[in-house]
Protein backbone atom coordinates (compact mmCIF):
# COMPACT_ATOMS: atom_id res chain seq x y z
CA UNK A 1 0.00 0.00 0.00
CA UNK A 2 1.47 3.35 -1.05
CA UNK A 3 0.27 6.85 -0.16
CA UNK A 4 -1.64 6.93 -3.46
CA UNK A 5 -3.52 3.75 -2.47
CA UNK A 6 -4.51 5.18 0.90
CA UNK A 7 -5.72 8.37 -0.81
CA UNK A 8 -7.81 6.41 -3.31
CA UNK A 9 -9.22 4.13 -0.59
CA UNK A 10 -10.30 6.88 1.81
CA UNK A 11 -11.09 9.40 -0.93
CA UNK A 12 -13.60 7.01 -2.53
CA UNK A 13 -15.28 6.05 0.73
CA UNK A 14 -15.52 9.61 2.09
CA UNK A 15 -16.74 11.07 -1.21
CA UNK A 16 -19.63 8.62 -1.40
CA UNK A 17 -20.56 8.99 2.28
CA UNK A 18 -20.54 12.80 2.22
CA UNK A 19 -22.42 12.94 -1.10
CA UNK A 20 -25.05 10.60 0.36
CA UNK A 21 -25.42 12.83 3.43
CA UNK A 22 -25.50 16.16 1.57
CA UNK A 23 -27.92 15.11 -1.17
CA UNK A 24 -30.55 13.74 1.20
CA UNK A 25 -30.78 16.50 3.79
CA UNK A 26 -34.16 17.94 4.72
CA UNK A 27 -37.24 17.21 6.75
CA UNK A 28 -38.43 13.64 7.08
CA UNK A 29 -41.26 11.62 8.52
CA UNK A 30 -41.02 8.06 9.75
CA UNK A 31 -42.48 6.87 6.42
CA UNK A 32 -40.10 8.85 4.24
CA UNK A 33 -37.14 7.90 6.45
CA UNK A 34 -37.91 4.20 6.26
CA UNK A 35 -39.40 3.88 2.79
CA UNK A 36 -38.15 6.88 0.79
CA UNK A 37 -40.59 9.21 -0.90
CA UNK A 38 -41.81 6.82 -3.57
CA UNK A 39 -39.88 8.35 -6.46
CA UNK A 40 -37.44 5.54 -7.28
CA UNK A 41 -37.26 4.60 -10.95
CA UNK A 42 -36.84 1.05 -12.22
CA UNK A 43 -33.07 1.19 -12.72
CA UNK A 44 -32.56 2.69 -9.25
CA UNK A 45 -34.59 -0.17 -7.77
CA UNK A 46 -32.67 -2.75 -9.79
CA UNK A 47 -29.30 -1.39 -8.67
CA UNK A 48 -30.45 -1.19 -5.06
CA UNK A 49 -31.59 -4.83 -5.14
CA UNK A 50 -28.27 -5.98 -6.58
CA UNK A 51 -26.18 -3.83 -4.23
CA UNK A 52 -28.01 -5.18 -1.18
CA UNK A 53 -27.55 -8.79 -2.26
CA UNK A 54 -23.86 -8.50 -3.19
CA UNK A 55 -21.81 -8.13 -0.03
CA UNK A 56 -18.05 -7.90 0.24
CA UNK A 57 -17.69 -11.64 0.52
CA UNK A 58 -19.27 -11.96 -2.96
CA UNK A 59 -16.31 -10.11 -4.44
CA UNK A 60 -13.63 -11.50 -2.11
CA UNK A 61 -14.63 -15.13 -2.29
CA UNK A 62 -16.14 -15.68 -5.73
CA UNK A 63 -12.95 -15.20 -7.80
CA UNK A 64 -11.15 -17.59 -5.41
CA UNK A 65 -13.97 -20.07 -5.84
CA UNK A 66 -13.49 -20.06 -9.62
CA UNK A 67 -9.74 -20.60 -9.20
CA UNK A 68 -10.17 -23.59 -6.90
CA UNK A 69 -13.38 -25.06 -8.21
CA UNK A 70 -14.22 -23.64 -11.64
CA UNK A 71 -17.34 -21.70 -12.56
CA UNK A 72 -20.00 -24.24 -11.53
CA UNK A 73 -21.05 -21.99 -8.63
CA UNK A 74 -23.05 -19.99 -11.21
CA UNK A 75 -25.75 -22.67 -11.46
CA UNK A 76 -27.23 -21.76 -8.12
CA UNK A 77 -28.49 -18.48 -9.62
CA UNK A 78 -30.52 -20.15 -12.37
CA UNK A 79 -33.63 -20.04 -10.16
CA UNK A 80 -33.38 -16.29 -9.63
CA UNK A 81 -35.14 -15.11 -12.83
CA UNK A 82 -38.01 -17.55 -12.17
CA UNK A 83 -38.43 -16.11 -8.67
CA UNK A 84 -38.44 -12.58 -10.15
CA UNK A 85 -41.40 -13.47 -12.39
CA UNK A 86 -43.44 -15.01 -9.54
CA UNK A 87 -42.76 -12.01 -7.27
CA UNK A 88 -43.64 -9.52 -10.02
CA UNK A 89 -46.94 -11.25 -10.76
CA UNK A 90 -48.11 -11.95 -7.21
CA UNK A 91 -46.17 -10.22 -4.45
CA UNK A 92 -45.66 -6.71 -5.86
CA UNK A 93 -49.31 -5.76 -6.62
CA UNK A 94 -50.48 -6.98 -3.20
CA UNK A 95 -47.82 -5.02 -1.30
CA UNK A 96 -48.56 -1.92 -3.39
CA UNK A 97 -52.34 -2.04 -3.16
CA UNK A 98 -52.18 -2.22 0.64
CA UNK A 99 -49.49 0.49 0.69
CA UNK A 100 -47.52 -1.42 3.34
CA UNK A 101 -44.26 -0.28 4.90
CA UNK A 102 -42.99 -3.83 5.45
CA UNK A 103 -43.92 -7.25 4.09
CA UNK A 104 -45.04 -8.37 7.55
CA UNK A 105 -47.64 -5.62 7.79
CA UNK A 106 -49.57 -7.39 5.02
CA UNK A 107 -49.76 -10.55 7.15
CA UNK A 108 -51.84 -8.76 9.78
CA UNK A 109 -54.48 -7.66 7.29
CA UNK A 110 -54.53 -11.13 5.74
CA UNK A 111 -54.22 -13.22 8.94
CA UNK A 112 -53.86 -11.61 12.37
CA UNK A 113 -51.46 -9.71 14.60
CA UNK A 114 -49.73 -12.78 16.05
CA UNK A 115 -48.74 -14.08 12.61
CA UNK A 116 -47.34 -10.65 11.74
CA UNK A 117 -45.35 -10.45 14.97
CA UNK A 118 -44.07 -14.03 14.60
CA UNK A 119 -42.67 -13.51 11.08
CA UNK A 120 -41.36 -10.01 11.87
CA UNK A 121 -39.51 -11.35 14.92
CA UNK A 122 -38.10 -14.30 12.97
CA UNK A 123 -36.86 -11.86 10.34
CA UNK A 124 -35.22 -9.62 12.94
CA UNK A 125 -33.32 -12.52 14.49
CA UNK A 126 -32.16 -13.97 11.15
CA UNK A 127 -31.26 -10.68 9.47
CA UNK A 128 -29.79 -9.18 12.63
CA UNK A 129 -27.36 -12.09 12.88
CA UNK A 130 -26.48 -12.07 9.21
CA UNK A 131 -25.86 -8.30 9.28
CA UNK A 132 -23.14 -9.22 11.78
CA UNK A 133 -21.61 -11.62 9.25
CA UNK A 134 -21.94 -9.05 6.44
CA UNK A 135 -19.58 -6.83 8.38
CA UNK A 136 -17.46 -9.55 10.00
CA UNK A 137 -16.36 -11.49 6.91
CA UNK A 138 -14.74 -8.57 5.06
CA UNK A 139 -13.42 -7.11 8.34
CA UNK A 140 -11.49 -10.29 8.98
CA UNK A 141 -9.82 -10.35 5.55
CA UNK A 142 -9.22 -6.59 5.30
CA UNK A 143 -7.84 -6.30 8.82
CA UNK A 144 -5.40 -9.14 8.14
CA UNK A 145 -4.20 -7.59 4.89
CA UNK A 146 -4.01 -4.00 6.13
CA UNK A 147 -2.45 -5.01 9.44
CA UNK A 148 -5.25 -3.35 11.41
CA UNK A 149 -7.24 -4.83 14.25
CA UNK A 150 -10.63 -6.27 13.39
CA UNK A 151 -12.16 -3.62 15.65
CA UNK A 152 -10.76 -0.87 13.42
CA UNK A 153 -12.14 -2.23 10.15
CA UNK A 154 -15.48 -3.05 11.76
CA UNK A 155 -15.79 0.46 13.18
CA UNK A 156 -14.81 2.02 9.85
CA UNK A 157 -17.47 0.11 7.88
CA UNK A 158 -20.15 0.42 10.57
CA UNK A 159 -19.62 4.09 11.42
CA UNK A 160 -19.71 5.18 7.76
CA UNK A 161 -22.99 3.33 7.21
CA UNK A 162 -24.51 4.85 10.36
CA UNK A 163 -23.57 8.38 9.24
CA UNK A 164 -25.52 8.38 5.98
CA UNK A 165 -28.26 5.93 7.02
CA UNK A 166 -29.28 7.95 10.06
CA UNK A 167 -29.12 11.33 8.34
CA UNK A 168 -30.65 10.46 4.97
CA UNK A 169 -32.64 7.29 5.63
CA UNK A 170 -33.81 5.03 2.84
CA UNK A 171 -33.12 7.63 0.12
CA UNK A 172 -29.48 7.95 1.17
CA UNK A 173 -29.13 4.17 1.17
CA UNK A 174 -30.35 3.86 -2.40
CA UNK A 175 -28.37 6.89 -3.62
CA UNK A 176 -25.09 5.63 -2.15
CA UNK A 177 -25.78 2.11 -3.42
CA UNK A 178 -25.82 3.47 -6.99
CA UNK A 179 -22.38 5.01 -6.53
CA UNK A 180 -21.05 2.04 -4.57
CA UNK A 181 -22.11 -0.55 -7.14
CA UNK A 182 -20.66 1.53 -10.00
CA UNK A 183 -17.26 1.72 -8.28
CA UNK A 184 -17.45 -1.96 -7.31
CA UNK A 185 -18.21 -3.25 -10.81
CA UNK A 186 -15.79 -0.76 -12.43
CA UNK A 187 -13.01 -1.84 -10.08
CA UNK A 188 -13.67 -5.54 -10.65
CA UNK A 189 -13.72 -5.14 -14.46
CA UNK A 190 -10.48 -3.16 -14.32
CA UNK A 191 -8.86 -5.93 -12.25
CA UNK A 192 -9.99 -8.50 -14.81
CA UNK A 193 -8.62 -6.51 -17.76
CA UNK A 194 -5.31 -5.95 -15.96
CA UNK A 195 -5.05 -9.66 -15.11
CA UNK A 196 -5.31 -10.42 -18.83
CA UNK A 197 -2.74 -7.78 -19.83
CA UNK A 198 -0.27 -9.28 -17.33
CA UNK A 199 -0.26 -12.61 -19.21
CA UNK A 200 2.74 -13.39 -21.45
CA UNK A 201 2.52 -11.61 -24.81
CA UNK A 202 2.25 -14.78 -26.88
CA UNK A 203 -1.03 -15.71 -25.13
CA UNK A 204 -4.09 -14.44 -27.01
CA UNK A 205 -7.56 -14.18 -25.50
CA UNK A 206 -8.69 -17.35 -27.23
CA UNK A 207 -5.59 -19.16 -25.91
CA UNK A 208 -6.61 -18.02 -22.43
CA UNK A 209 -10.12 -19.43 -22.90
CA UNK A 210 -8.81 -22.69 -24.32
CA UNK A 211 -6.28 -23.08 -21.53
CA UNK A 212 -8.87 -22.48 -18.80
CA UNK A 213 -11.35 -24.75 -20.57
CA UNK A 214 -8.90 -27.63 -21.04
CA UNK A 215 -8.03 -27.39 -17.34
CA UNK A 216 -11.68 -27.80 -16.36
CA UNK A 217 -12.65 -24.28 -15.29
CA UNK A 218 -15.72 -24.00 -17.55
CA UNK A 219 -17.73 -26.62 -15.67
CA UNK A 220 -20.74 -24.34 -15.95
CA UNK A 221 -23.59 -26.83 -16.14
CA UNK A 222 -23.93 -30.20 -14.40
CA UNK A 223 -27.05 -32.10 -15.50
CA UNK A 224 -26.89 -34.74 -12.77
CA UNK A 225 -29.81 -34.64 -10.31
CA UNK A 226 -28.41 -34.64 -6.78
CA UNK A 227 -30.15 -32.73 -3.98
CA UNK A 228 -27.12 -33.21 -1.72
CA UNK A 229 -25.05 -31.11 -4.08
CA UNK A 230 -25.73 -27.40 -4.39
CA UNK A 231 -24.11 -26.90 -7.76
CA UNK A 232 -26.09 -28.73 -10.41
CA UNK A 233 -28.75 -27.39 -12.71
CA UNK A 234 -31.68 -29.00 -10.83
CA UNK A 235 -30.63 -27.68 -7.43
CA UNK A 236 -30.30 -24.26 -9.04
CA UNK A 237 -33.63 -24.30 -10.82
CA UNK A 238 -35.69 -25.86 -8.00
CA UNK A 239 -34.02 -25.13 -4.65
CA UNK A 240 -32.63 -21.86 -6.01
CA UNK A 241 -36.11 -20.68 -6.99
CA UNK A 242 -37.40 -21.39 -3.47
CA UNK A 243 -34.46 -19.65 -1.83
CA UNK A 244 -34.73 -16.54 -4.02
CA UNK A 245 -38.52 -16.46 -3.60
CA UNK A 246 -37.97 -16.31 0.16
CA UNK A 247 -35.15 -13.81 -0.08
CA UNK A 248 -36.62 -11.36 -2.59
CA UNK A 249 -40.29 -11.89 -1.73
CA UNK A 250 -40.42 -12.10 2.06
CA UNK A 251 -37.14 -10.68 3.39
CA UNK A 252 -37.65 -7.02 4.21
CA UNK A 253 -34.05 -6.19 3.27
CA UNK A 254 -35.10 -6.87 -0.34
CA UNK A 255 -38.84 -6.06 -0.15
CA UNK A 256 -37.88 -2.63 1.22
CA UNK A 257 -35.82 -1.98 -1.93
CA UNK A 258 -38.76 -2.26 -4.33
CA UNK A 259 -41.52 -0.85 -2.11
CA UNK A 260 -39.93 2.59 -2.47
CA UNK A 261 -40.68 2.65 -6.20
CA UNK A 262 -42.87 5.11 -8.03
CA UNK A 263 -45.39 2.48 -9.18
CA UNK A 264 -46.00 -1.22 -9.61
CA UNK A 265 -44.51 -0.97 -13.09
CA UNK A 266 -41.24 0.56 -11.85
CA UNK A 267 -40.89 -2.13 -9.19
CA UNK A 268 -41.56 -4.93 -11.66
CA UNK A 269 -39.03 -3.54 -14.11
CA UNK A 270 -36.51 -3.24 -11.27
CA UNK A 271 -36.98 -6.92 -10.43
CA UNK A 272 -36.76 -7.90 -14.13
CA UNK A 273 -33.56 -5.81 -14.41
CA UNK A 274 -32.15 -7.82 -11.50
CA UNK A 275 -33.25 -11.09 -13.15
CA UNK A 276 -31.58 -10.17 -16.45
CA UNK A 277 -28.29 -8.90 -15.02
CA UNK A 278 -27.63 -11.06 -11.95
CA UNK A 279 -26.38 -14.19 -13.72
CA UNK A 280 -24.14 -12.23 -16.16
CA UNK A 281 -22.76 -10.24 -13.20
CA UNK A 282 -21.85 -13.42 -11.32
CA UNK A 283 -20.42 -14.84 -14.56
CA UNK A 284 -18.13 -11.81 -14.87
CA UNK A 285 -16.89 -12.09 -11.27
CA UNK A 286 -16.23 -15.82 -11.71
CA UNK A 287 -14.55 -15.16 -15.06
CA UNK A 288 -12.20 -12.65 -13.40
CA UNK A 289 -11.26 -15.53 -11.11
CA UNK A 290 -10.54 -17.68 -14.17
CA UNK A 291 -8.26 -14.95 -15.58
CA UNK A 292 -6.36 -14.88 -12.27
CA UNK A 293 -6.12 -18.69 -12.46
CA UNK A 294 -4.49 -18.42 -15.90
CA UNK A 295 -2.21 -15.65 -14.60
CA UNK A 296 -1.02 -18.02 -11.87
CA UNK A 297 -0.20 -20.66 -14.48
CA UNK A 298 2.52 -18.32 -15.79
CA UNK A 299 3.49 -16.69 -12.49
CA UNK A 300 4.22 -18.70 -9.40
CA UNK A 301 1.50 -18.20 -6.77
CA UNK A 302 2.21 -18.39 -3.03
CA UNK A 303 1.69 -21.81 -1.53
CA UNK A 304 -0.57 -20.26 1.13
CA UNK A 305 -2.50 -17.10 0.23
CA UNK A 306 -2.89 -15.57 3.68
CA UNK A 307 0.62 -14.11 3.72
CA UNK A 308 0.29 -12.58 7.19
CA UNK A 309 -0.47 -15.96 8.74
CA UNK A 310 2.39 -17.51 6.73
CA UNK A 311 4.84 -14.97 8.20
CA UNK A 312 3.62 -15.83 11.71
CA UNK A 313 4.19 -19.55 11.13
CA UNK A 314 7.73 -18.92 9.87
CA UNK A 315 8.56 -17.54 13.32
CA UNK A 316 7.49 -20.75 15.07
CA UNK A 317 9.38 -24.05 15.29
CA UNK A 318 7.33 -25.22 12.30
CA UNK A 319 8.92 -22.52 10.13
CA UNK A 320 11.48 -24.93 8.66
CA UNK A 321 8.78 -27.45 7.80
CA UNK A 322 6.83 -24.73 5.98
CA UNK A 323 9.97 -23.63 4.13
CA UNK A 324 10.64 -27.22 3.07
CA UNK A 325 7.13 -27.39 1.62
CA UNK A 326 7.73 -24.13 -0.20
CA UNK A 327 10.97 -25.41 -1.75
CA UNK A 328 9.13 -28.55 -2.80
CA UNK A 329 6.52 -26.30 -4.41
CA UNK A 330 9.21 -24.33 -6.28
CA UNK A 331 10.26 -27.57 -8.01
CA UNK A 332 6.67 -28.64 -8.65
CA UNK A 333 5.80 -25.25 -10.12
CA UNK A 334 8.84 -25.30 -12.44
CA UNK A 335 7.69 -28.67 -13.77
CA UNK A 336 4.11 -27.40 -14.14
CA UNK A 337 5.22 -24.23 -15.90
CA UNK A 338 7.10 -26.30 -18.47
CA UNK A 339 4.03 -28.46 -19.08
CA UNK A 340 1.81 -25.38 -19.36
CA UNK A 341 4.14 -23.81 -21.95
CA UNK A 342 4.00 -26.99 -24.02
CA UNK A 343 0.22 -27.12 -23.64
CA UNK A 344 -0.06 -23.54 -24.96
CA UNK A 345 2.10 -24.46 -27.95
CA UNK A 346 -0.06 -27.46 -28.81
CA UNK A 347 -3.22 -25.35 -28.39
CA UNK A 348 -1.75 -22.81 -30.82
CA UNK A 349 -0.82 -25.62 -33.24
CA UNK A 350 -4.28 -27.17 -32.71
CA UNK A 351 -2.59 -30.52 -32.16
CA UNK A 352 -5.42 -32.41 -30.46
CA UNK A 353 -3.38 -35.46 -29.57
CA UNK A 354 -0.68 -33.60 -27.67
CA UNK A 355 -3.29 -31.31 -26.07
CA UNK A 356 -4.85 -34.43 -24.52
CA UNK A 357 -1.53 -35.75 -23.22
CA UNK A 358 -0.34 -32.42 -21.85
CA UNK A 359 -3.71 -31.60 -20.32
CA UNK A 360 -3.56 -34.82 -18.30
CA UNK A 361 -0.03 -33.92 -17.23
CA UNK A 362 -0.97 -30.42 -16.03
CA UNK A 363 -4.06 -31.75 -14.28
CA UNK A 364 -1.95 -34.39 -12.50
CA UNK A 365 0.47 -31.67 -11.39
CA UNK A 366 -2.49 -29.55 -10.25
CA UNK A 367 -3.67 -32.46 -8.12
CA UNK A 368 -0.19 -32.78 -6.60
CA UNK A 369 -0.17 -29.04 -5.97
CA UNK A 370 -3.53 -29.29 -4.20
CA UNK A 371 -2.16 -32.08 -2.00
CA UNK A 372 0.87 -29.97 -1.16
CA UNK A 373 -1.36 -27.02 -0.23
CA UNK A 374 -3.40 -29.28 2.06
CA UNK A 375 -0.15 -30.38 3.70
CA UNK A 376 0.87 -26.76 4.23
CA UNK A 377 -2.49 -26.04 5.87
CA UNK A 378 -1.90 -28.95 8.26
CA UNK A 379 1.54 -27.57 9.13
CA UNK A 380 -0.02 -24.17 9.85
CA UNK A 381 -2.68 -25.84 11.99
CA UNK A 382 0.07 -27.61 13.97
CA UNK A 383 2.05 -24.40 14.41
CA UNK A 384 -0.92 -22.21 15.39
CA UNK A 385 -3.86 -24.45 16.38
CA UNK A 386 -6.31 -21.53 16.55
CA UNK A 387 -5.44 -20.31 13.04
CA UNK A 388 -8.00 -20.29 10.22
CA UNK A 389 -6.44 -22.14 7.31
CA UNK A 390 -9.20 -21.37 4.81
CA UNK A 391 -7.35 -19.06 2.44
CA UNK A 392 -9.81 -18.87 -0.48
CA UNK A 393 -10.99 -15.41 0.58
CA UNK A 394 -7.41 -14.14 0.34
CA UNK A 395 -6.59 -15.35 -3.19
CA UNK A 396 -8.05 -12.43 -5.13
CA UNK A 397 -6.79 -9.62 -2.87
CA UNK A 398 -3.39 -11.30 -2.69
CA UNK A 399 -3.26 -11.16 -6.50
CA UNK A 400 -4.30 -7.49 -6.43
CA UNK A 401 -1.76 -6.44 -3.80
CA UNK A 402 1.20 -8.16 -5.44
CA UNK A 403 0.55 -7.57 -9.13
CA UNK A 404 -1.59 -4.52 -9.81
CA UNK A 405 -0.28 -0.92 -10.02
CA UNK A 406 -0.52 1.50 -7.10
CA UNK A 407 -3.77 3.42 -7.09
CA UNK A 408 -5.59 0.38 -8.47
CA UNK A 409 -4.72 -1.49 -5.27
CA UNK A 410 -6.42 1.25 -3.24
CA UNK A 411 -9.40 1.14 -5.59
CA UNK A 412 -9.86 -2.62 -5.18
CA UNK A 413 -9.67 -2.34 -1.39
CA UNK A 414 -12.28 0.42 -1.62
CA UNK A 415 -14.40 -2.02 -3.67
CA UNK A 416 -14.45 -4.46 -0.75
CA UNK A 417 -15.30 -1.78 1.82
CA UNK A 418 -18.03 -0.28 -0.38
CA UNK A 419 -19.60 -3.67 -1.08
CA UNK A 420 -19.76 -4.36 2.65
CA UNK A 421 -21.29 -0.93 3.29
CA UNK A 422 -23.93 -1.14 0.54
CA UNK A 423 -25.11 -4.55 1.69
CA UNK A 424 -25.12 -3.61 5.35
CA UNK A 425 -27.03 -0.36 4.68
CA UNK A 426 -29.83 -2.28 2.94
CA UNK A 427 -30.05 -4.73 5.83
CA UNK A 428 -30.02 -2.00 8.50
CA UNK A 429 -32.75 -0.08 6.73
CA UNK A 430 -34.94 -3.20 6.79
CA UNK A 431 -34.14 -4.02 10.41
CA UNK A 432 -35.10 -0.53 11.57
CA UNK A 433 -38.28 -0.49 9.42
CA UNK A 434 -39.45 -3.78 10.86
CA UNK A 435 -38.56 -2.86 14.44
CA UNK A 436 -40.17 0.59 14.22
CA UNK A 437 -43.28 -0.29 12.26
CA UNK A 438 -44.09 -3.92 13.11
CA UNK A 439 -43.00 -4.06 16.74
CA UNK A 440 -42.66 -0.60 18.27
CA UNK A 441 -45.52 1.38 16.70
CA UNK A 442 -47.85 -1.61 16.45
CA UNK A 443 -47.35 -3.45 19.72
CA UNK A 444 -45.31 -1.38 22.19
CA UNK A 445 -46.02 2.34 21.90
CA UNK A 446 -49.10 2.96 19.75
CA UNK A 447 -49.95 6.61 20.37
CA UNK A 448 -46.77 8.68 20.23
CA UNK A 449 -46.23 11.72 17.99
CA UNK A 450 -44.91 11.46 14.41
CA UNK A 451 -41.68 13.20 15.53
CA UNK A 452 -41.23 10.56 18.21
CA UNK A 453 -41.55 7.71 15.69
CA UNK A 454 -38.99 9.33 13.37
CA UNK A 455 -36.56 9.64 16.29
CA UNK A 456 -37.26 6.05 17.33
CA UNK A 457 -36.63 4.81 13.76
CA UNK A 458 -33.25 6.55 13.73
CA UNK A 459 -32.51 5.07 17.14
CA UNK A 460 -33.29 1.56 15.87
CA UNK A 461 -30.93 2.08 12.92
CA UNK A 462 -28.10 2.89 15.32
CA UNK A 463 -29.09 0.06 17.66
CA UNK A 464 -28.97 -2.62 14.94
CA UNK A 465 -25.71 -1.22 13.54
CA UNK A 466 -24.10 -1.38 16.97
CA UNK A 467 -25.37 -4.94 17.51
CA UNK A 468 -23.91 -6.01 14.14
CA UNK A 469 -20.57 -4.38 14.97
CA UNK A 470 -20.38 -5.98 18.42
CA UNK A 471 -21.19 -9.33 16.80
CA UNK A 472 -18.39 -8.80 14.27
CA UNK A 473 -15.85 -7.97 16.96
CA UNK A 474 -16.78 -11.03 19.01
CA UNK A 475 -17.30 -13.45 16.11
CA UNK A 476 -13.62 -14.17 15.60
CA UNK A 477 -13.61 -15.86 19.00
CA UNK A 478 -16.49 -18.17 18.14
CA UNK A 479 -16.01 -20.24 15.00
CA UNK A 480 -19.19 -22.21 15.76
CA UNK A 481 -21.25 -19.05 15.94
CA UNK A 482 -20.33 -18.13 12.37
CA UNK A 483 -21.24 -21.57 11.06
CA UNK A 484 -24.51 -21.39 12.98
CA UNK A 485 -25.44 -18.03 11.43
CA UNK A 486 -24.63 -19.26 7.95
CA UNK A 487 -27.10 -22.14 8.25
CA UNK A 488 -29.74 -20.59 10.53
CA UNK A 489 -31.34 -18.80 7.57
CA UNK A 490 -32.16 -22.01 5.77
CA UNK A 491 -33.80 -23.40 8.92
CA UNK A 492 -36.43 -20.64 9.03
CA UNK A 493 -36.76 -19.37 5.46
CA UNK A 494 -39.04 -22.20 4.33
CA UNK A 495 -41.59 -21.58 7.08
CA UNK A 496 -41.70 -17.84 6.40
CA UNK A 497 -42.18 -18.46 2.67
CA UNK A 498 -44.95 -20.97 3.47
CA UNK A 499 -46.84 -18.33 5.48
CA UNK A 500 -46.65 -15.86 2.59
CA UNK A 501 -47.58 -18.40 -0.10
CA UNK A 502 -50.59 -19.47 1.97
CA UNK A 503 -51.56 -15.81 2.30
CA UNK A 504 -51.37 -15.23 -1.46
CA UNK A 505 -52.73 -18.45 -2.91
CA UNK A 506 -54.94 -20.23 -0.34
CA UNK A 507 -57.59 -17.65 0.48
CA UNK A 508 -59.70 -19.81 2.76
CA UNK A 509 -56.93 -20.49 5.32
CA UNK A 510 -57.07 -17.97 8.19
CA UNK A 511 -54.76 -16.80 10.98
CA UNK A 512 -55.04 -19.57 13.57
CA UNK A 513 -54.59 -22.40 11.08
CA UNK A 514 -51.53 -20.89 9.42
CA UNK A 515 -49.99 -19.99 12.79
CA UNK A 516 -50.28 -23.57 14.10
CA UNK A 517 -49.09 -24.99 10.75
CA UNK A 518 -46.04 -22.69 10.89
CA UNK A 519 -45.13 -23.86 14.40
CA UNK A 520 -45.47 -27.53 13.31
CA UNK A 521 -43.41 -26.90 10.15
CA UNK A 522 -40.63 -25.23 12.13
CA UNK A 523 -40.57 -28.13 14.61
CA UNK A 524 -40.28 -30.63 11.73
CA UNK A 525 -37.46 -28.66 10.07
CA UNK A 526 -35.53 -28.43 13.35
CA UNK A 527 -36.11 -32.17 13.93
CA UNK A 528 -34.72 -32.90 10.44
CA UNK A 529 -31.70 -30.73 11.19
CA UNK A 530 -30.85 -32.35 14.52
CA UNK A 531 -31.84 -35.97 13.89
CA UNK A 532 -31.74 -36.73 10.15
CA UNK A 533 -29.33 -36.17 7.30
CA UNK A 534 -31.92 -34.70 4.94
CA UNK A 535 -30.22 -32.69 2.19
CA UNK A 536 -29.83 -29.10 3.25
CA UNK A 537 -31.39 -27.68 0.12
CA UNK A 538 -34.64 -29.49 0.85
CA UNK A 539 -35.26 -27.73 4.18
CA UNK A 540 -36.82 -24.71 2.48
CA UNK A 541 -39.11 -26.89 0.38
CA UNK A 542 -40.13 -29.12 3.32
CA UNK A 543 -40.83 -26.19 5.65
CA UNK A 544 -42.81 -24.35 3.00
CA UNK A 545 -44.87 -27.41 1.98
CA UNK A 546 -45.83 -28.28 5.58
CA UNK A 547 -47.10 -24.74 6.25
CA UNK A 548 -49.25 -24.67 3.11
CA UNK A 549 -50.63 -28.22 3.44
CA UNK A 550 -50.94 -27.97 7.23
CA UNK A 551 -52.94 -24.76 6.90
CA UNK A 552 -55.30 -26.36 4.39
CA UNK A 553 -55.86 -29.43 6.60
CA UNK A 554 -56.20 -27.51 9.88
CA UNK A 555 -58.58 -24.81 8.65
CA UNK A 556 -61.76 -27.00 8.62
CA UNK A 557 -60.94 -28.24 12.15
CA UNK A 558 -60.62 -24.69 13.46
CA UNK A 559 -63.59 -23.23 11.62
CA UNK A 560 -65.48 -22.46 14.80
CA UNK A 561 -62.66 -20.59 16.46
CA UNK A 562 -60.99 -18.65 13.68
CA UNK A 563 -61.76 -15.04 13.08
Amino acid sequence: MSLLDWLVLFGTILTIVSYGVLKTRGKKTMESYLKGDGTLKWWMIGISIMATQASAITFLSTPGQAIEDGMRFLQFYFGLPIAMVIISVTFVPIYYNLNVLTAYEYLESRFDLKTRLLTASLFLVLRGLSAGITIFAPSLVLSTILGWSITTTTLLIGAMVIVYSVSGGSRAVSLTQRMQLSVVMGGMLLAGILAFTLLPEKISFSDTLNLAGELGKFNLVDLEFNPNERYNIWSGLIAGTFLFLSYFGTDQSQVGRYLGGRSIAESRLGLIFNGLLKIPMQFIILFIGVLVFVFYLFNQPPVFYNQVLRAKVLETEYGDKLKASESEYDLLYAEKREAVDQLVESIQREDDHSIMTLRERVLALNAKEKELREGVKETIKEAIPAAKTQDRDYIFLNFVLNNLPHGIIGLLLAVMFLAAMSSMAGELSALSSTTASDLYRRAINKTASPEHYLKASRGFTVLWAVLAMVFAMLASFAENLIQFVNIVGSLFYGTILGIFLTAFYVQYVKGNAVFIAAIIAEAVVLYCYFFTDLAFLLYNIVGCAIVVLGGILLQPLLRGSSK
Binding site: L74, F78, P81, I82, M84, V85, S88, V89, P93, G213, F218, N219, L220, V221, D222, L223, I233, S263, I264, A265, R268, L269, I272, G275, L276, I279, P280
Partner: protein, 35 residues
Protein backbone atom coordinates in the same frame (compact mmCIF):
# COMPACT_ATOMS: atom_id res chain seq x y z
CA UNK B 1 -53.17 2.68 -16.43
CA UNK B 2 -50.14 3.50 -14.24
CA UNK B 3 -49.02 -0.12 -14.37
CA UNK B 4 -48.80 -0.49 -18.13
CA UNK B 5 -45.42 -1.89 -19.07
CA UNK B 6 -43.12 0.17 -21.29
CA UNK B 7 -42.10 -1.11 -24.77
CA UNK B 8 -44.34 -4.21 -24.84
CA UNK B 9 -48.13 -4.38 -24.68
CA UNK B 10 -48.29 -6.76 -21.75
CA UNK B 11 -46.27 -7.80 -18.74
CA UNK B 12 -46.36 -11.33 -20.08
CA UNK B 13 -43.95 -10.28 -22.85
CA UNK B 14 -41.49 -8.97 -20.26
CA UNK B 15 -41.67 -12.20 -18.27
CA UNK B 16 -41.20 -14.14 -21.50
CA UNK B 17 -38.14 -12.04 -22.29
CA UNK B 18 -36.67 -12.71 -18.85
CA UNK B 19 -37.26 -16.47 -18.95
CA UNK B 20 -36.10 -16.59 -22.58
CA UNK B 21 -32.84 -14.89 -21.56
CA UNK B 22 -32.42 -17.49 -18.81
CA UNK B 23 -32.97 -20.34 -21.27
CA UNK B 24 -30.50 -18.88 -23.78
CA UNK B 25 -27.87 -18.48 -21.06
CA UNK B 26 -28.32 -22.06 -19.86
CA UNK B 27 -27.97 -23.38 -23.44
CA UNK B 28 -24.82 -21.28 -23.99
CA UNK B 29 -23.28 -22.43 -20.72
CA UNK B 30 -24.19 -26.04 -21.50
CA UNK B 31 -22.52 -25.72 -24.90
CA UNK B 32 -19.40 -24.24 -23.30
CA UNK B 33 -19.30 -27.03 -20.72
CA UNK B 34 -19.62 -29.76 -23.35
CA UNK B 35 -17.10 -28.09 -25.67
Amino acid sequence: PADKPPVFNSWRSWYGLLLGALAIQIVLYLWLTNY
